[in-house]
Amino acid sequence: MSSTRPEPVQVIKQRRDAALEALVAGVPYIQWLGIRFDRRGDELTAILPFDEKLIGNPALPALHGGATAAFLEVAAVIELAWAGMWGEMEAAGTAPAAAAARLHLPKTIDFTVDYLRAGLPRDAYARARINRSGRRYASVHVEAWQDNRARLFAQGTGHFLMPEAAGQHEA
């Protein structure tokens, strides 16, 4: 049994927030869309703040289906990478550098988006759930909503190829 004292909460939070930042901040497309991540322990919520450039149909107006698809896919990819780096980060006690964090990014094999209702011109939120994560392949489901958590405006399922370099660390 280890007799070391638990880490101070601020040290833990700083490490986890820095690791998430390392993963997300350097990806230009995530920054261009304006996607941010809210973290509670290991639970991530992706946030897409409303912006005029996300509009598809200006007559309604409604979010572009492509912007919605991209938001869901980003939420799924970051969830997988985050889950993949969590154990290593906690064991090391330090946040990885950006380049090391991005080694955990999986490649999308396919992604299916189910458009349930028009995306309104306001902020959107998404949470991803890893249904299966193996050495090579993963299956992830994502739900997105706006005002009401129970009223999804889109959902998606994707299959992903796990990065080989990152997988080797997780023996």
């Binding site: 990806v27 497309y29 996300l54 149909n57 492509g66 299916t112 189910d114 458009y115």
Partner: protein, 141 residues
């Protein structure tokens, strides 16, 4: 230029997200649309390689698909994506523009079915493909 195709062109050019991604209509035909998107450093998904994020290619394929529906002979009043399944074959080559070719190959009274393929400058090896179902809002007779 037939009325349906003129409508489709203005449909695409009025979409702020498509404009922000720099999409251009390359060709339109009956139930068909070719759209291009230039390489742009802001759309990179992997800063180590400069490869465009799949999400931007999805947006291009979704827009091309909607345009193909708008170009259908039934001259729809509007359309929206019901579902889209995207298959990613390979990374797009950094620096190259992407072209998506969509075909609306079947319509019912209220649904349009579309398939779409995307290439970079290597026309022999597609980057991605998708199939989708779209709503079809018919004009009042």
């Amino acid at each position: 230029m037939p009325e349906a195709i003129r409508l489709a062109q203005s449909f695409i050019e009025a979409l702020p997200h498509s404009r922000a991604l720099g999409m251009t209509v390359e060709a339109l035909g009956e139930g068909r649309a070719d759209l291009s998107m230039p390489y742009d450093a802001r759309l990179v998904g992997d800063p180590a390689t400069g490869v465009i994020h799949g999400g931007a290619i999805s947006a291009l394929m979704d827009t091309a698909s909607g345009a193909a529906v708008m170009c259908h002979a039934s001259a729809p009043a509007s359309t929206a994506t019901l579902d889209l399944r995207i298959d990613y074959f390979r990374s797009a080559t950094p620096g190259q523009r992407i072209v998506a070719r969509a075909e609306c190959y079947h319509v019912t009274r209220s649904v349009a079915f579309v398939r779409v393929t995307a290439w970079d400058e290597d026309a022999a090896r597609p980057v991605a493909a998708a199939t989708g179902a779209f709503t079809l809002e018919r004009r009042a007779p």
